[in-house]
C-alpha cells in the first residue's frame, strides 16, 4: 500500500517578498495517476519546478525522496537522469524541426564519429510514435501538427528518456474533446506500463475520471490528499478544498435592466489569414445597453477570431458582414476607427497582446486614448498621472504607485490595468475575451464586480469564456458558437452547462 515512488516533505520556497510554498507535502504511490488541483497562483507549478530541478536544491527548504532515497537536483538534467520528466503547459517543441528531431533534441542518437544516425533515430521515433498512438511521419515538421498531436510528441519525447515519473502541467487545457479523450486514454495505457503520472489540471471531470488520488493545494499549502478509488469524492468536494468556500459566493449578484441595442453584427464572415477556410461563418449577434452577453464556444470555434475581426478587422481577411452601433451602420476598418466607434476589446492574452510589460501603469492606461490627454500632439503628463491614479484607486490595482512597471504586477492586477485602459477610451461596448484567465479567485470576484458596475452604468458587455459556469454566473444572454457558426442563443435562466455544451458541439456532429 505505502509504496511511494515520490515523497516531497515540508517543501518551503520563498521568493523575495512572497512565500510561494509553505510546508507542502506530497506523496505519490508507484504506478498511480496523481492529480494536483488548486486555483491559479496556488503554487502547483512552483511545486513541480522544485521537483524537476528548475529551482535547484538549496533554493528551497524541505526534502525530496525519490524511489526510496533522498535526491537533490541541481537542474532539469539531474531530474531527467533519474526518470522524472515534466511536460509544461506551453509546449517546448521547435516548430521548424521534424518530429524525430524534436523527440531526440538534446538526447541525439549518435552513430559512428559522433554524427547523428538518422536511420536509427527515425526507426526509434516511429516506434515511440506508435506507442503514443500518433500516426505521423517522423520527418514531418512539428509546426504542421495540431496542438493535440504536439502534446503526443512531447509524451513520446518523454518516453524516449526512459521516464518513470511523468509530470503533465494542464495537458488538456488547449485540446478539444476528442484529443483530450485520446490523451487520457494514453495516460491510462502508460499507467499499465508502470509509469507513474502527476497531472496538474483544472478540469475536475477529467480528474475524477482517470486519477487515483488528488492533492489539493491552496495558497501555497497542501490542503488535503483524497483517494478517488472509493468513488465518493465529487467534483464539488474538490472545489470546496480548492477555494475554501462554496461556489455560491463566486459571482456577485446583479439586477439586469437591458436597454437600447448598442452593437449589432450581421452575417459576419471571416477567412483565415493564411489558410483557405472560413473561421467565422455568417455570424450575427447583438448586445444591449446594460446587458452582459456571453459567447460560448470550444477551443477553435472562432470566438476570439470573431471578436478581433469585429474590432477594427485586427484578424483575418476577406471580412464581410455589417456592423451597427446604436442602429447606425459603421465602418470600423482599423482599430483606431473601432475605438472611435465606441468598441473596446480586451484580449485573452494580456501579456502578449494587451500590455506593454516594460512600461508602467500610467503609460499602459493611457495607451489606447492618448488623444484624450493631448492637445495638438502634445501629451499632458500630469493629467495622465491623474487619470492613471483614478484608475488605480477605482479598480483597486494593488501597486505602490502608477509608475510601477506592469510586468511586475500579478495577473489579476494586470487584468485591471487592461480594463482601465479600455474604460479610459470611454467605450459603449466592451468585449472581454477570457477576462479571468490565469487570475486568482479573489481577483476574479473583483473583475465580476467591475463588469457589474459597467453594465449598471449603461455599458454593453460581451464576455467570451471557455468556462461555462463563468458565463452562467455573469451573463444575461449566451450565444453558442461552433465551428464559426452561431448555433443558438439562450437567456441565462434557460441555460445550463448541458444544453450549452450540446449547442457548442452541434455543428461538429452535423459536419462530422
Amino acid at each position: 500500500m505505502d509504496d511511494h515512488i515520490l515523497e516531497m516533505r515540508s517543501i518551503t520556497k520563498t521568493f523575495p517578498g512572497v512565500k510561494a510554498l509553505e510546508d507542502v507535502n506530497l506523496a505519490v504511490e508507484r504506478g498511480e495517476i496523481h492529480a494536483i488541483c488548486g486555483e491559479n497562483g496556488a503554487g502547483k507549478s512552483t511545486l513541480m519546478k522544485v521537483l524537476s530541478g528548475v529551482y535547484p536544491a538549496g533554493s528551497y527548504d524541505g526534502e525530496i525522496v525519490f524511489d526510496g532515497s533522498p535526491v537533490r537536483f541541481g537542474g532539469i538534467r539531474d531530474s531527467e537522469h533519474v526518470g522524472i520528466v515534466i511536460i509544461h503547459q506551453e509546449l517546448a517543441l521547435v516548430p521548424f524541426l521534424s518530429v524525430a528531431e524534436n523527440i531526440f533534441l538534446g538526447n541525439e542518437r549518435r552513430g559512428r564519429g559522433g554524427l547523428i544516425d538518422w536511420n536509427k533515430a527515425h526507426a526509434e521515433a516511429d516506434e515511440l510514435l506508435r506507442s503514443v498512438g500518433l500516426h505521423e511521419n517522423p520527418e514531418t515538421p512539428v509546426g504542421q501538427l495540431g496542438v493535440g498531436k504536439q502534446q503526443l510528441v512531447e509524451i513520446a519525447k518523454a518516453l524516449s528518456k526512459d521516464v518513470r515519473l511523468l509530470i503533465l502541467d494542464e495537458p488538456t487545457a488547449a485540446l478539444n474533446d476528442t484529443d483530450s479523450e485520446h490523451l487520457l486514454g494514453l495516460l491510462r495505457a502508460l499507467k499499465e506500463r508502470g509509469i507513474t503520472c502527476i497531472m496538474i489540471s483544472h478540469k475536475l471531470n477529467e480528474i475524477t475520471a482517470i486519477a487515483d488520488s488528488v492533492t489539493v493545494i491552496r495558497d501555497g499549502r497542501t490542503v488535503e490528499t483524497l483517494s478517488l478509488h472509493a468513488g465518493e469524492v465529487t467534483q464539488e468536494r474538490i472545489i470546496r478544498g480548492m477555494v475554501g468556500r462554496d461556489l455560491e459566493s463566486y459571482y456577485p449578484d446583479r439586477e439586469s435592466h437591458p436597454g437600447e441595442e448598442v452593437l449589432r453584427v450581421e452575417d459576419w464572415t471571416v477567412w483565415h489569414p493564411t489558410q483557405d477556410r472560413k473561421v467565422v461563418d455568417g455570424a450575427s449577434f447583438d448586445v444591449r445597453a446594460g446587458e452582459v452577453v456571453g459567447i460560448a464556444g470550444l477551443m477553435g470555434a472562432g470566438r476570439t477570431e470573431l471578436a478581433m475581426s469585429v474590432f477594427g478587422r485586427s484578424y483575418g481577411r476577406n471580412i464581410s458582414g455589417r456592423l451597427f452601433m446604436h442602429g447606425k451602420e459603421v465602418r470600423a476598418r482599423t482599430v483606431a476607427e473601432a475605438i472611435d466607434a465606441g468598441i473596446a476589446y480586451a484580449t485573452e492574452d494580456r501579456k502578449r497582446y494587451g500590455l506593454n510589460l516594460i512600461e508602467d501603469i500610467r503609460r499602459n492606461v493611457s495607451a489606447a486614448a492618448l488623444g484624450k490627454l493631448s492637445r495638438r500632439g502634445w501629451v499632458n503628463g500630469n493629467e495622465e498621472i491623474k487619470v492613471a491614479e483614478e484608475s488605480r484607486r477605482g479598480m483597486n490595482i494593488k501597486a505602490p504607485s502608477v509608475t510601477s512597471v506592469v510586468g511586475k504586477l500579478s495577473g489579476g492586477n494586470q487584468q485591471k490595468v487592461v480594463l482601465s485602459k479600455w474604460l479610459f477610451t470611454d467605450p459603449d461596448v466592451l468585449v472581454l475575451d477570457e477576462p479571468t484567465r490565469g487570475i486568482d479567485v479573489g481577483a476574479k470576484y473583483e473583475i465580476y464586480t467591475i463588469i457589474n458596475r459597467l453594465v449598471a452604468a449603461g455599458k454593453a458587455v460581451v464576455v467570451i469564456s471557455s468556462e461555462l459556469p463563468e458565463l452562467l454566473g455573469t451573463c444575461d444572454r449566451i450565444y453558442t458558437l461552433s465551428a464559426g457558426r452561431i448555433t443558438g442563443q439562450l437567456p441565462v435562466r434557460e441555460a445550463t452547462q448541458e444544453n450549452l455544451m450540446e449547442l457548442m458541439t452541434k455543428e461538429k456532429e452535423l459536419a462530422g
Binding site: F15, P16, G17, F311, G312, S314, T334, V335, A336, A338, I339, Y345, T347, R352, Y353, G354, L355, N356, L357, I358, E359, D360, R363, S366, A367, A368, L370, G371, S374, G377, W378, V379, G381, N382, E383, I385, K386, K398, A399, P400, S401, T403, S404, V405, K408, K421
Partner: protein, 415 residues
C-alpha cells in the same frame, strides 16, 4: 540642455511603499540617486570618464580649445545618434546611415562645387535626398514588412553605390566659405570680445534662464496636480548645479573661438527631439511599438505610419549629419561616413537603449555618444595607438550592454 526625468520608482516591490510625502528633504536625495541606477549609471560613468581622462591628459581634455574640438569632431555622430535611438526604441535598426551621410554630402557637393549653385541649394537638396532615402526605407519596413536590418543593409550598399555614381568615383572640394561655416564657423565678437566672447556667455545665460523657467513651470504644474515634487532647496540646488555646469562650459567656449554654429544646431535638435520623444503622442507611440508591437496595434496605434515616419526622420537627420560632415571635411569623398552607423548605434546602446526595443532616451544616447567622443579624444591626446582605441571602444560598448542585461535580469529576479 539636460532634462531631468520625473522621479521614477522602478524597483517596485509590493512591500516597499513608503508614504511619499510632498515635501521631504533627506529621503528625497536618496530617492534621486538610487531611483534608477540604470539611467543615472550612465551619467555617473560619463563624469568618471571625463575625470579620468582629464587627469590622464594632464588637464588638456578640458582646455577650451579641446572642448570645442570634441564638439566639432563628433557633432555628426551625435546628430545620427538622435535618429538612431528613436529607430532602436521602436525595435528597429538602421545600418545605412553612413552611406546616406556620404550620399547627401555628395549631392550637395555636386550642386555647390561642380555646378556652382549657392550653398543653401546644396543644403536643401541634401535634406530632400535624406527625406527620400528615409521614405524608401520606411516604405519597405512599414508597408512591405521587411525587417529593418535587411532593408537598411541593402540601403547601405545601395546608397554607397549611388554616392560613387554621383561623384564619378572622385572627391570634390573645396566648398565655398559660407558652406564650410556650418561646421567650422563660430559666432564670435557679435557683442564685442574682451579676451572672451560676451555673446557666447549671453547665450549660455539665456539657456540657463530658460532651463530654470521650464523647470519652475513643470514643478508648479506638478504641485497643481498634487504630485510629489522634490523639496525646494533640492530643486534650487539642481538648477544651480546645472546652471554652473552650463556657464562653465560657456566660459570655456568664450575663451576659445566663441560659440560653434554646429553646437547651436545640435542643441536645437537635442531639445526638440528630447521633447518629441517624451511629450508627444508620436513619441509615446514609438515607445509603445517597441515595448509590445501587438499590444500597440490593438490599442489603435497606426503602427505602419509611425514606423514610416521614424525612418523618414532618420533620413532627415542623416542628411543633417551629411551636411555637417561635408562642411567639416570641406568636400565630398566616395568613402565618407564609413562606419558612422556603428558609432551611432553604439552611442544609443551605451546610452541605455535596449536591444529588444521600448527603452532608451535621446539624452542617454547623447551621453553615450559623448562617452565615446571623450574616450577617443582623450586617447588621441595621450597618443594611444589607433588599434588600442578601437579595442577600448569595443569593450566599453560590450560592458555597457552587459550592464543593461544584468540590470534587467536582476529586476526580473526580484519578482
Amino acid at each position: 540642455m539636460t532634462r531631468t526625468a520625473p522621479p521614477q520608482n522602478e524597483d517596485v516591490t509590493p512591500a516597499a511603499s513608503p508614504a511619499r510625502s510632498l515635501h521631504t528633504g533627506s529621503s528625497n536625495v536618496r530617492d534621486l540617486l538610487s531611483r534608477n541606477l540604470r539611467t543615472s549609471g550612465i551619467y555617473i560613468a560619463f563624469v568618471a570618464i571625463v575625470a579620468l581622462f582629464a587627469v590622464l591628459t594632464g588637464g588638456t581634455l578640458l582646455q577650451p580649445g579641446n572642448i570645442t574640438n570634441i564638439i566639432l569632431q563628433y557633432s555628426y555622430i551625435l546628430v545620427l545618434a538622435i535618429g538612431m535611438v528613436i529607430v532602436i526604441i521602436a525595435g528597429h535598426i538602421d545600418l545605412s546611415v553612413g552611406s546616406v551621410v556620404a550620399l547627401t554630402g555628395a549631392v550637395s557637393a555636386v550642386l555647390v562645387i561642380r555646378e556652382g549653385l549657392p550653398w543653401w541649394v546644396g543644403v536643401l537638396a541634401a535634406i530632400a535626398v535624406g527625406l527620400a532615402v528615409g521614405a524608401w526605407h520606411g516604405f519597405w519596413v512599414a508597408y512591405v514588412g521587411i525587417p529593418a536590418f535587411i532593408v537598411t543593409l541593402a540601403g547601405m550598399l545601395l546608397f554607397r553605390g549611388l554616392t560613387l555614381q554621383v561623384l564619378d568615383n572622385i572627391s570634390l572640394s573645396p566648398f565655398p566659405r559660407e558652406y564650410t561655416r556650418i561646421a567650422a564657423g563660430f559666432l564670435n565678437g557679435l557683442l564685442g570680445g574682451y579676451g572672451y566672447d560676451a555673446f557666447t556667455l549671453l547665450i549660455g545665460a539665456i539657456a540657463v534662464a530658460g532651463y530654470a523657467v521650464s523647470q519652475w513651470r513643470a514643478r508648479s504644474a506638478k504641485i497643481r496636480y498634487q504630485q510629489p515634487v522634490e523639496s525646494f532647496p533640492l530643486f534650487v540646488t539642481k538648477i544651480v548645479v546645472v546652471g554652473a555646469v552650463v556657464m562653465a562650459f560657456a566660459w570655456q567656449l568664450a575663451h576659445a573661438r566663441g560659440l560653434p554654429i554646429v553646437l547651436i544646431i545640435l542643441a536645437v535638435l537635442i531639445l526638440a527631439y528630447g521633447l518629441i520623444t517624451k511629450k508627444t503622442v508620436f513619441g509615446r507611440q514609438v515607445y509603445a511599438i517597441g515595448g509590445n508591437l501587438a499590444a500597440a496595434t490593438l490599442s489603435g496605434v497606426k503602427v505602419k505610419a509611425v514606423n514610416f515616419w521614424i525612418f523618414v526622420n532618420m533620413g532627415f537627420l542623416s542628411a543633417i549629419a551629411g551636411i555637417i560632415y561635408s562642411s567639416r571635411s570641406n568636400g565630398a569623398q566616395p568613402a565618407a561616413g564609413n562606419m558612422f552607423e556603428l558609432d551611432a548605434i553604439a552611442a544609443a546602446f551605451i546610452g541605455g537603449a535596449a536591444v529588444t526595443g521600448g527603452v532608451g532616451t535621446v539624452v542617454g544616447a547623447m551621453v553615450g555618444g559623448l562617452i565615446m567622443a571623450v574616450m577617443s579624444n582623450g586617447m588621441q591626446l595621450m597618443g594611444v595607438e589607433q588599434q588600442i582605441q578601437s579595442v577600448v571602444k569595443g569593450l566599453v560598448l560590450l560592458l555597457a550592454v552587459a550592464f543593461d542585461v544584468y540590470n534587467k535580469r536582476r529586476a526580473g529576479a526580484s519578482r
